[in-house]
Amino acid sequence: MSGRGSSNSIIIVGGGASGVVLAAHLLKSANPDLRVTLIEKRPHFGQGIAYSTLLSAHVLNVSAAGMSAYADDPGNFWRWLQAGGLLGQDQTPLTPFYAPRSVYARYLKELLDDLETRERETGRLRLIREESLSISPTASGVEVTLANGTSVVAHLAVLATGHDEQPAQGHAVRMGSEADTALDPDSRVMVLGTGLSMVDAFLALEQRGHKGEIIAVSRRGLLPSPHRKGNPIKLDVADIPLGTQLSYFVGWFRDLIRENQKAGVDWRDVVDGLRPFNQKIWQNWPASAKRRFVEHTKAWWDIHRHRMAPEVHAEVSEAVRSGRIRLVAGRVVGIDAGERVSVDIQARHSQAIETVEVARIYDCSGIVRDISTSSNSVVRSLVDRGLARPDPLRIGLDVSANCEIIAADGAVSRKILAVGPLTRGTFFEIDAIPDIRVQCARLTRQLLG
């Protein structure tokens, strides 16, 4: 890139999945002067929030063929599974396979171990297990201050801090956190959210031998759909209405699904056929369409787009049928917390208020409420000092199409960049490996040529 100074030394803040995937792409370069420093506060690299679960029931929501860490080598994860004897005899790359997330964490760990071994003599990779506190631009690059009082310098820094760990709302607790103490197995619990995180919570409760009723509440009470083996339809950018108001686009998309269904095509193949264009569609929408999408359409989109393994869906559906899980479309309007927690829920359609007593509320709503209140000190301090600003919807940081963060005054940083979920205001669907690896490959070309 013209105008950018030397970019041979790069600090990646965050050593979860997106940080490791970026490091792996950078280190494919033959440049002997390259220096990559990966900083992670957790004891293990490559896990983040998403892949730190040890529960075998917590499987990936994307089939193995889509989970390679490398954009240009989609079979990488598949071959690793095969080499490790982790696939059944009859598994082919074409049969969907949803690996446990702990297995995926191991894949990323081994990938990083291999890189570390390979780069030991070159000195191109350095791993630091410490929390990063802040990033500051300096005359020659950037300085990252660490919680142990030291700091690291480089030409530029890339934020790969992943999903924001916002504190649980009100009286709710996060599944697996310290506040998530032992429960009476027959007690009733409430889950805020009915999406994939709720499903994870249900599976974890099952594992613990919990038997009580689970009341799952969200605005619409919608459960994500199951995957099915299919063939995404082929679309070209010339077919897709861009830059229109949201209602126009949604009308077009519904018609497209209807026409395809008439021809015997599963709706999933239409939703998946749109995937290569999702970022482009998002980026071309006027601000009003983006806002409306997040407010009104995203819940509907998510359950069709972000699906779960068929086996998991069958288990959850059975739990709904048997009354183990009760899905409620509504919102929590009051909480009275004592020994037990009494919750008032207002139903979405009838507006009727129902009061239920539960032993615990789990927060699985999974939505970034406001990035400027992020629990991540690096992100917060960048926003506080005006070096970064939230995107217009405040779901991430405002970044350029080249992943450079944008300051409060609109200046585009040449030294601080971001990848992964933090960039969703600009890239929309950038939570999953298939999208993150493409972003990392592009950023690598941009930085190292």
């Binding site: 339809i233 082929k234 679309l235 070209d236 950018v237 010339a238 077919d239 897709i240 209405p241 861009l242 830059g243 229109t244 108001q245 949201l246 209602s247 126009y248 497209l256 071309n284 006027p286 009003s288 369409a289």
Partner: protein
């Protein structure tokens, strides 16, 4: 292929892009200035409103204006709304595909090349904004007239 509908729609939008920001234009004025049949223009503007490119106000002082700044509206986006998927011939479209009666699509070299052409059309039209199209007019039209003369 750009239909009359697409062409008229673009002319109307360029007309609106030339108005002072926020000011409404009468449908009659747009029709007269660009020699577009008034009824056809009504229908076209209605579709552009549904897609969110223009806003309208009813009544005696009513009219149309752009819903967004002219540099934020891409020409290709408008053409897709008025004429459907960008395609030089009907067999070179995925969503509005129409098989040609008289040839075999698998072996038709014309179709193959036209699929490439549609990508090129999208690239050109999606790069250009209404503001750019409006400004082309001012600088280059006199030159074109001179050459003709």
């Amino acid at each position: 292929m750009l239909t009359k509908k697409g062409k008229y729609g673009l002319k109307a939008l360029v007309h609106l892009a030339g108005m002072p920001a926020g000011q409404l234009a009468f449908v009659n004025d747009i029709a007269t200035a660009n020699t577009i049949p008034k009824k056809f223009l009504d229908a076209i503007l209605g579709e552009l409103r549904n897609a969110g490119f223009v806003q309208s106000r009813k009544g005696k002082d009513g009219g149309y204006r752009l819903a967004r700044p002219a540099d934020e509206i891409r020409v290709g986006h408008v053409v897709r709304v008025l004429d459907g998927p960008l395609a030089p011939i009907p067999c070179a479209s995925r969503t509005q595909y129409q098989r040609c009666e008289d040839c075999n699509e698998a072996t038709c070299q014309v179709r193959h090349l036209m699929l490439e052409v549609r990508q090129a059309i999208a690239e050109v039209l999606d790069q250009r904004s209404l503001a750019e199209m409006r400004d082309i007019g001012l600088d280059e039209l006199p030159v074109a007239t001179k050459i003709q003369a």
